[in-house]
């Protein structure tokens, strides 16, 4: 049995069922004998269903070759990076681009293997400030301001 494909097939079966249900609830606003707003999503539900069942059958037959997994230490750093990303996005509207980006940059620099404190500190301040100046002053692109810049 191909474990990952089985998990994917089960998740997709759930998604297909939900998508199909929501499609059935769409209003039928169309001219007679012409497809309405639910027509195309209906076709996609059908395609998703057929392909998901094919993936499920294949995974149960154990045909698939499982792709390589990231080494443990790398996977841990990957989770830290994703976690930092989530926290960054949550706090940015409140803190603003600059105040949120500095600690985020510092965490990522560390995750990518930089251990010199001076380099981490310097770059995590310099790069977000530079980006802020370039985008806000140079290209007039507004960035979330929050409590700061």
């Amino acid at each position: 049995m191909a474990r990952r494909d089985l998990i994917a097939a089960l998740v997709l079966l759930g998604f297909t069922a939900g998508f199909g249900l929501l499609t059935l609830r769409l209003p039928d606003r169309g001219l007679p004998n012409t497809p309405g707003p639910a027509f195309f999503p209906g076709l996609i539900t059908l395609a998703l269903g057929i392909l998901t069942i094919a993936l499920l059958v294949r995974s149960l037959r154990g045909i698939a070759v499982e792709p390589a997994v990231l080494p443990g230490a790398v996977a841990t750093r990957g989770w830290i990076a994703i976690g930092a990303f989530v926290v960054y996005l949550i706090v940015m509207p409140a803190l603003g681009f600059l105040f949120a980006s500095v600690p985020f940059f510092a965490v990522l620099t560390w995750v990518y293997g930089e251990r010199r404190l001076a380099v981490v500190t310097l770059t995590s301040i310099a790069v977000p400030v530079a980006l802020l100046v370039i985008f806000r002053s140079g290209f007039q692109i507004l960035l979330p301001s929050g409590i700061g810049w």
Partner: protein, 498 residues
């Protein structure tokens, strides 16, 4: 055509456009040659700028990056034996042995000249083919357009996926995501859950940033390779400009690569890697008794794939410009970038904005010229940039992704959408599911539904309209062949795994 070409020339040769092309070319070379970075990442970095720039300048910047990225990928392949882009893998076979012999300059010089000729040839083909193909495409009606878009999707799925089930599933997921928002014909809200942010649907560029950049940032954690190795070899760089004898040896392989690359570039999904390896194979067969055997530093083995992978760029612009069908992720991004400015690539572009359409072709020409000049003049300096520290580069790209997603509509919601697609991209990578079909479904899905519903409305729900039109029938047949072909080849290569 002459007047439009002149108008396009004026637009693309304005100082601002030329500067943008040159900057794009430099960025492309740098991004392409840093292992772990792709042309798509480079485009994501400059994407926020394109929202505020004039469309002509934006496209000049992006084309410079596209063309430069192809060449930059080869620099890494030659110097480090790590292809910066998949298209450069074939170049490493003969390029790196020359570096080990202390002839790095010779290998890079041949790559630069071959890329230039390949790019220029494809530019000429683009100029000659695109307007004519656009004329033909103007005659397409809704059923033909639906079948054409469907063909584009199936061809891409069959090439992009190791497993046809996963390729088609990725495309189906993309099509499901496209249905979020108002439907394209009646304007009915679908799957919005009462959110006003979702009324206009999921922005393609936001999804793209998440799908490509976040998995790449995480994937790069696994790579410990740095560019420091290259510094040892730059000490013995040697002559960069190819000698006359080398230029003579390049003639046939470059001709092969240019033709193969342009032809395969036109086909959606075929792309640079196939063109490069196919040209390498043809060049090997066409070269009798080379001074250096193939695989150990043959000039012909660098020239053929290099001209091919740069010729692919011009070829890929043909279906993008004339039919609105992107052939690879980069041209898909170009489509998205043009849509932001209200310019829809397709046959009407040549009618409604011929100055812009021809301007794109001229910008592509300039991109190749700048590529040559910048690469030859700054080769020694550019090579040193391979050693840029990843520890700073990757966090900076992460922040640029956020800026890119936010600046599209000044919306924090779009950043969350980007993160969602980033997680989706990671999950797909974990499942070995290709993201390219999903990406292209996001680009093409809206058109697919619109053309289908317009066709069926016109025929009062009669499905035979898709088979009675000759164009549509041909496109549908090709789509069916493409799916069957991918099923057969998947069974052959994976020992029966569908």
């Amino acid at each position: 055509m002459g007047d439009f070409l002149m108008a396009g020339f004026s637009q693309a040769t304005a100082p601002s456009s030329l500067i943008a092309t040159a900057i794009g070319s430099i960025l492309g070379i740098v991004v392409g040659m840093i292992p772990g970075m792709t042309i798509s990442t480079g485009i994501i970095i400059v994407l926020p700028l394109t929202f505020v720039l004039d469309p002509g300048i934006s496209i000049a910047l992006l084309l410079g990056l596209y063309v430069g990225g192809m060449l930059g990928g080869s620099f890494a392949a030659i110097m480090l034996n790590i292809p910066g882009t998949p298209s450069a893998a074939a170049t490493a076979v003969d390029g790196h042995p020359l570096v080990e012999r202390g002839e790095a300059g010779r290998a890079l010089g041949v790559a630069v000249i071959a890329s230039f000729i390949g790019g220029l040839f494809s530019c000429l083909c683009l100029l000659l083919i695109a307007p004519r193909l656009a004329d033909v495409a103007l005659g397409f009606r809704a059923p033909d357009l639906f079948s054409l878009v469907l063909l584009g999707l199936t061809v891409i799925c069959s090439f992009a996926a190791k497993s046809w089930i996963k390729g088609l599933l990725a495309a189906a997921i993309g099509l499901a995501i496209v249905t979020v928002g108002q439907d394209p014909v009646m304007g009915t809200a679908r799957f919005t859950f009462g959110s006003t942010d979702l009324m206009s649907g999921v922005n393609f560029l936001t999804a793209l940033i998440g799908l490509f950049a976040i998995p790449q940032l995480i994937g790069n954690l696994a790579s410990t390779e740095t560019g420091t190795r290259v510094l040892r070899t730059t000490a013995r760089f040697g002559r960069v400009l190819p000698k006359l004898s080398d230029l003579r040896r390049m003639r046939v392989p470059v001709a092969i690569g240019s033709v193969v690359g342009t032809f395969l570039g036109v086909l959606p999904g075929a792309g640079g890697p196939i063109a490069a390896f196919l040209s390498y194979d043809y060049a090997q067969k066409a070269t009798k008794n080379p001074p250096e055997p193939f695989g150990s530093g043959a000039i012909e083995g660098i020239a053929a794939p290099e001209s091919a992978n740069n010729a692919v760029t011009g070829g890929a612009l043909v279906p993008m410009m004339t039919l609105g069908i992107p052939g690879d992720p980069v041209t898909a991004i170009l489509v998205g970038a043009l849509l932001v400015h209200g310019l829809a690539p397709g046959p009407l572009l040549f009618i409604e904005r011929p100055d812009f359409a021809y301007g794109v072709i001229v910008s592509f020409f300039w991109a190749n010229i700048f590529n040559l000049l910048i690469a030859l003049a700054g080769l020694r300096l550019l090579i040193k940039l391979i050693a840029l520290p990843r520890t700073i580069l990757m966090p900076a790209i992460a922040i640029l992704c956020v800026v890119g997603a936010y600046s599209l509509r000044n919306s924090v919601f779009d950043i969350y959408v980007m993160l969602f697609f980033g997680v989706l991209g990671l999950a797909m990578r974990w499942l070995d599911m290709p993201v390219v079909p999903l990406l292209l479904a996001l680009v093409l899905g809206g058109q697919l539904e619109e053309h289908m519903r317009v066709a069926l409305t016109g025929s009062q729900g009669d499905y035979s309209v898709f088979f009675t039109s000759p164009f549509s029938a041909v496109f549908l047949s090709l789509a069916a062949i493409s799916v069957v072909w991918s099923v057969i080849s998947s069974r052959r290569t994976a020992g029966g795994a569908p």
